[in-house]
Symmetry: C2
Subunit: 215 residues, 2 copies
């Protein structure tokens, strides 16, 4: 449900509040931008994340200033943005971008115990599906050195622009090309670690990686 | 110069403060994430931007809440993130991402007069080089409906991770594949506007679009 803080005000037709739209964007993204304030100064920091059920997880070093600040219960904003294309209109004014973004507001809480390991697995599987079983699981020391935070999706909204440019009526006669240049994140050829034994086969998490997963 | 607010604290070897590194990242990115607080709640909003000299420009509707808030002189953080690859280690703990990000702190100021049009041209040319001359320039009404803000790069820092995973010594004997899966933004085939006359040729800004420009 939109709250007064998550209602899209500018171009309200771009606002979406249904779970399906929000979840699809969160599940396709890789990096979120986490916003928080320290002494009145906002900071915006990129980090990996994952969604599970109605929660977002982020993780990092237990001594990270960002995570320690968030764990203190300050208000946070987590934004995920997928850039889908450049919208090129006949007028400069009507240029735009096609994108899908989600904004989540709330306060984060530390995750402990069994849920902590599950959250780390969720993040690994979100970033590279299948990877959790292809690497050594975290040991106790590593778990202690890792802080995992959880944020509810209760206060979330999406903003989406799709489709061709929209020009002013009188501009359609102008001789300029108009349309959309689609953009997407693409994977290149995997680069093996220099210390990897020759002939180590590329695993499914790497070989089959793509975004969106079924796109 | 790094200030106490822009000094990279975690993994300080990833911090960079030289102009060349910061400018290269800003000039390659397309979308920035703008962080600001309203009544103590941070918001993080994606938007297009461009750099010119020692300033960043963002623009949007003159009635945008974000831009009006920023124009009021509140502290802002603008972050640009380039995701270069997934870093897949032998241990889950040492998984990471290769990325280049810039964080700019400061306060934004409205841009007027000749600099306003120049800033809009800078943004257009940043997003799609060559586009400014391929579309109708903004008229007076459109300029009035557009707010352009400028932010100094005085307080900026970059954070960069490159290269292969770094595993614990004892993990190098594990039989897991390790390496980097490179990621980059890629353009698809241009999609002409449905109302475009047949045979309108695709212009250089679209045909030759790539990021990084000389990559």
């Amino acid at each position: 449900m939109p709250t007064s803080r998550t209602t899209v005000r500018r171009l309200p037709q771009r606002g979406h509040y249904d779970r399906e739209t929000i979840v699809a964007i969160l599940d396709e993204g890789l990096v979120c931008h986490v916003g928080f304030a320290v002494d009145g100064q906002p900071f915006v920091i990129p980090t990996l994340y994952a969604r599970r059920g109605e929660r977002l997880y982020v993780h990092g070093s237990a001594v990270s200033r960002m995570l320690k600040t968030l764990a203190g219960g300050v208000p946070v904003c987590v934004t995920v943005t997928l850039l889908d294309g450049l919208v090129l209109a006949r007028s400069m004014f009507n240029h735009s971008m096609n994108y899908r973004s989600v904004v989540v507001l709330g306060t984060a809480t530390p995750v402990e115990g069994a849920e902590k390991v599950e959250a780390l697995e969720t993040i690994a599987e979100h970033v590279a599906p299948g990877r959790w079983k292809e690497a050594r699981a975290p040991n106790e020391t590593e778990l202690k050195a890792t802080l995992v935070l959880s944020l509810s999706l209760d206060e979330a909204s999406a903003k989406v622009r799709t489709g061709p440019p929209v020009d002013d009526d009188e501009d359609y006669a102008l001789p300029y090309w108009a349309g959309v240049l689609p953009l997407a994140l693409a994977a290149g050829a995997p680069v093996p670690d220099p210390r990897l034994p020759a002939g180590t086969s590329v695993p499914p998490s790497v070989r089959a990686w793509r975004r969106p997963r079924n796109g």
